[in-house]
C-alpha cells in the first residue's frame, strides 16, 4: 500500500529534477535547499505547520467527500465562508484578556456551520436534482471569494474596520479581540516550534473521520453508496440523507480550517485578494487527499509534507530560486500518484506457473 505512493514520490522528484536541469539549474542543490527550508532550518518546522494546518483541514474535507465519490471541490469556498462566519463569531463573542474557551468554541461552531452551509448548496442540488456537484461546488468557490472581497472592500460590513485613521484611507477588516485569538503550545526545540490549536483540531477531525468511516454503520453505508449506488438503494439505504450528511461534514471540516485561519494565524478576516484567497488551500487540499488515498491519518502526514514544500517555496522565492517550482513539483507528484493508481487497481502479480500443470482431460 505504501510502495506505490512512495515510488510515485521518487518518480516525481526525478521528473521535477529534469525540469530543473532543462532550465539550467542544479537539481540536487535546489532540492537540498528546499528540504533545508522546509524541515531543518531554525523556525522552519513552525512555519511548515502554519502551511500544513489549513492543508490538513481541506485535505480531510476532500477525503471525507471523495470517499463516498462525492466530488466536493468546493473546499476553497467552504474554507472562505467558514473564515467569514468564524470571524463574525470571534468579533461578537470575543473580548479583551486571554483566550476565552467560550469565544473559541463559538468560532469553531460558526466556522463549521458556515462551511457546512456552503457545502450543502451543492449537496442539496445533488440530492434533489441530481446536479453534478463537481461544477456547482467549483463555481461557488468564486462566489465565496467575491463575497469575501465584497464584505471588506465594497461595503461597510460588520467585519470591516470603520473607525481609525487607516480605515478611511484603505479598507481593512477588524482585528479579532484578544480573547478570540487561538492559543498554541510551544515546543522548545530548534528555535521554538509553535503548535497551533488548529493543528490539534485537525488531528481530532482526522480521528473522528477515521472512526466514522471505518467503525460506524454510517460510514459503511456511505461507502457502499459511493461504490454502488444501486446496491445501496436495494439495501434500503437513505441516499439523499447520506449525501447531505457527507457534504455537510466535508464542508464543516473545511469551514473549521477557515476558523483556524482567523484564530490561529491571521487574527482578522483576511480579505486581501493576495492573502488568504491566493493560497488556494482548497485546491491543494484535494491534492493532499488524493495523495493520501483518502485515508484521514495519511492526510495529516501528506499535509505536513506538502506544507513543508509550500513553506520552503515561500521562504526561498526570489533571487536564484525559481518561483513556481513548488507548483511544478506538486503537480508532478500528483500526476505520478494518479498514474500509480493504475498499478494499485490492476495489481500486477508475478506468479510462477505450476511446473507441471495438470494435463487437460483428453476427450476420450
Amino acid at each position: 500500500m505504501v510502495a506505490v505512493p512512495a515510488a510515485s514520490l521518487v518518480f516525481a522528484f526525478f521528473a521535477s529534477g529534469l525540469v530543473l536541469l532543462a532550465t539550467g539549474h542544479n537539481a540536487l542543490s535546489s532540492y537540498r535547499r528546499l528540504f533545508d527550508a522546509a524541515f531543518v532550518a531554525n523556525g522552519a518546522l513552525g512555519q511548515t505547520l502554519v502551511s500544513a494546518t489549513p492543508l490538513a483541514f481541506t485535505g480531510l474535507a476532500a477525503a471525507a467527500a471523495f470517499r463516498m465519490r462525492l466530488f466536493n471541490i468546493g473546499g476553497e469556498g467552504q474554507l472562505l465562508v467558514g473564515a467569514i462566519t468564524a470571524a463574525a463569531a470571534g468579533l461578537y463573542f470575543g473580548g479583551s484578556g486571554g483566550p476565552s474557551a467560550f469565544a473559541i468554541a463559538a468560532m469553531v461552531v460558526a466556522g463549521c456551520a458556515g462551511g457546512a452551509a456552503w457545502a450543502l448548496i451543492p449537496g442539496i442540488l445533488r440530492a434533489f436534482f441530481r446536479t453534478n456537484e463537481i461544477i456547482t461546488s467549483l463555481m461557488l468557490n468564486y462566489v465565496a471569494a467575491y463575497l469575501l472581497t465584497y464584505l471588506i472592500f465594497n461595503t461597510q460590513s460588520y467585519w470591516r474596520q470603520t473607525t481609525g485613521f487607516n480605515a478611511a484611507v484603505f479598507p481593512t477588516s477588524k482585528d479579532l479581540p484578544s480573547s478570540a485569538l487561538w492559543p498554541g503550545a510551544t515546543i522548545h526545540l530548534r528555535g521554538g516550534i509553535l503548535l497551533p490549536l488548529g493543528a490539534g483540531f485537525a488531528v481530532l477531525a482526522a480521528a473522528v473521520l477515521w472512526v466514522l468511516y471505518s467503525r460506524t454503520r454510517f460510514g459503511f453505508e456511505a461507502q457502499v453508496l459511493g461504490d454502488s449506488p444501486r446496491a445501496a438503494r436495494y439495501a434500503g439505504m437513505r441516499t439523499r440523507r447520506k449525501i447531505l450528511a457527507v457534504m455537510a461534514i466535508s464542508g464543516a471540516i473545511a469551514g473549521l480550517g477557515g476558523a483556524s485561519q482567523d484564530g490561529d494565524f491571521r487574527h482578522t478576516l483576511d480579505a486581501d485578494p493576495n492573502g488568504l484567497q491566493r493560497q488556494y488551500y482548497g485546491y491543494s487540499g484535494i491534492v493532499v487527499a488524493a495523495l493520501a488515498r483518502y485515508n484521514p491519518f495519511a492526510v495529516l502526514l501528506v499535509a505536513f509534507l506538502v506544507g513543508g514544500l509550500q513553506n520552503a517555496g515561500n521562504t526561498l522565492q526570489g533571487a536564484d530560486f525559481p518561483s513556481g517550482l513548488v507548483g511544478v513539483i506538486q503537480g508532478i507528484i500528483l500526476f505520478s500518484a494518479l498514474g500509480g493508481e493504475l498499478l494499485v487497481r490492476y495489481r500486477i502479480r508475478i506468479s510462477r506457473r505450476p511446473a507441471a500443470a495438470p494435463p487437460a482431460p483428453e476427450a476420450a
Partner: protein, 321 residues
C-alpha cells in the same frame, strides 16, 4: 453615443470575452468527446507565457511573429493537455483530480510562473501586440464602430472558429463521430470508431484552443506577463461550456455576456452608478447562472434536449462494455 455605458460595456465585453470564447470552444470539443478537462486555467497560462516568450525573444516582422506566437501558444497548450489525455484516457485516472492537478502543475504558482520567471519575462511590455484592424475613421462609426470594427484580428478569427466548430460538429463525419464517442463510447466502438484516438485528438485540440486563449491575454488584452494573468478566466470558460449547452454558437453569446459582466462592474464604478452590491452580483453572476443551468441540465427530461454529452467524465474501458 460611442461613450454610452451600453456601447462601452459591450465593446469591452467582446474584447474580454474573446479568450473565454477560445477556451470554451476548446473545452467544448474536449467535453463533446467525453473528457472533462478542469485544467483549462493551467493550459491558458502556459499558452500565455509561451506566446509572450515568442514575441519577446524571436526576431522577425511584427505580423509574422504574432502568427508564430499564436502557433507556439497553441502547441504549448496542446502539450499541456497531452498530460491530462495520457492520464485519463490511457491510464483511466480520475478526470477531476487530473484536471485540477494540471492547473496546479501549470498554473499561477506552477510551470507558467516558473517559465515566466526563468525567461525574465516580467519586466518588459510586449514588443509586438495585436492592434485593432480597421482604420480609426471606421472605428468612430456609431455603435458598430467600437463594438464590431474596434477589435483585433483574434476576435475575427474566433468568429471563424465558432463557425468551423459548428460545421465540424454538425456537418462532418468526424464531428458526428465525436458526438457518438461522447454520448455512447461503447456504441461508437462497436461502429468501429477508435474511441481513444478521438478522445486524445479532441483533448489536444482543446488544449491548443486554451493556449490561444491565454495568448489573447498576453498579446492583446494586457500585453505583458505577470503570474496568473488569466485571473480565473479558465474556470469561467468551463462554466461557459455548460452555460452554452455544449453548443459553439451559444458559446459566442455566453462569452460576450460573461465578458460584458466583467467589464460592467468597473465601468459602473467609474461612472458612480450603484445598483445594489454591484461588485458582488456582477462578478458572481456568471458562476451563479452556470449553477442554474446545471440544475436544468441535470433534470433528465431536459438533459437530452440540452445536449450534455452522456458519457462526460467517464473513462471508457472496453473490457467492461
Amino acid at each position: 453615443m460611442n461613450h454610452s455605458l451600453a456601447v462601452v460595456v459591450i465593446a469591452s465585453g467582446v474584447a474580454y470575452g474573446t479568450p473565454l470564447l477560445y477556451a470554451a470552444l476548446g473545452e467544448l470539443l474536449t467535453e463533446r468527446s467525453g473528457v472533462l478537462n478542469l485544467g483549462v486555467e493551467g493550459m491558458m497560462l502556459i499558452g500565455a507565457v509561451m506566446g509572450f516568450w515568442t514575441v519577446q525573444r524571436v526576431h522577425a516582422g511584427s505580423g509574422a511573429i504574432l502568427v508564430v506566437a499564436i502557433g507556439v501558444a497553441a502547441l504549448a497548450g496542446a502539450l499541456t493537455a497531452a498530460i491530462h489525455a495520457f492520464l485519463v484516457i490511457t491510464l483511466r485516472a480520475s478526470q477531476i483530480v487530473s484536471g485540477l492537478a494540471l492547473t496546479i502543475f501549470a498554473g499561477a504558482a506552477g510551470l507558467s510562473s516558473y517559465l515566466g520567471n526563468d525567461f525574465n519575462l516580467g519586466d518588459n511590455p510586449a514588443r509586438h501586440q495585436f492592434h485593432a484592424v480597421f482604420p480609426a475613421r471606421v472605428q468612430r462609426w456609431p455603435i458598430v464602430g467600437p463594438i464590431v470594427f474596434g477589435q483585433n484580428v483574434l476576435v475575427y478569427v474566433s468568429w471563424a472558429c465558432v463557425v468551423a466548430v459548428w460545421l465540424y460538429l454538425t456537418r462532418t463525419r468526424p464531428g458526428l463521430n465525436v458526438r457518438a464517442v461522447g454520448d455512447s463510447p461503447a456504441a461508437a466502438d462497436a461502429m468501429g470508431i477508435d474511441v481513444a484516438a478521438y478522445r486524445y485528438a479532441h483533448t489536444l485540440v482543446g488544449g491548443a484552443f486554451a493556449g490561444v486563449a491565454g495568448a489573447t491575454f498576453t498579446l492583446a488584452i494586457t500585453p505583458q506577463w505577470v503570474d496568473g494573468i488569466t485571473g480565473g478566466a479558465g474556470w469561467i470558460a468551463i462554466a461557459l461550456v455548460i452555460f452554452a449547452f455544449w453548443r459553439p454558437e451559444l458559446c459566442l453569446v455566453g462569452a460576450y455576456f460573461f465578458g460584458a459582466l466583467q467589464a460592467l462592474s468597473p465601468e459602473l464604478q467609474a461612472r458612480g452608478i450603484h445598483i445594489g452590491p454591484t461588485e458582488l452580483w456582477a462578478n458572481s453572476l456568471p458562476y451563479l447562472m452556470t449553477i442554474v443551468v446545471l440544475v436544468l441540465v441535470s433534470a433528465s427530461s431536459t438533459r437530452r434536449w440540452l445536449g450534455a454529452p452522456a458519457a462526460l467524465g467517464l473513462p471508457y474501458v472496453r473490457e467492461e462494455r
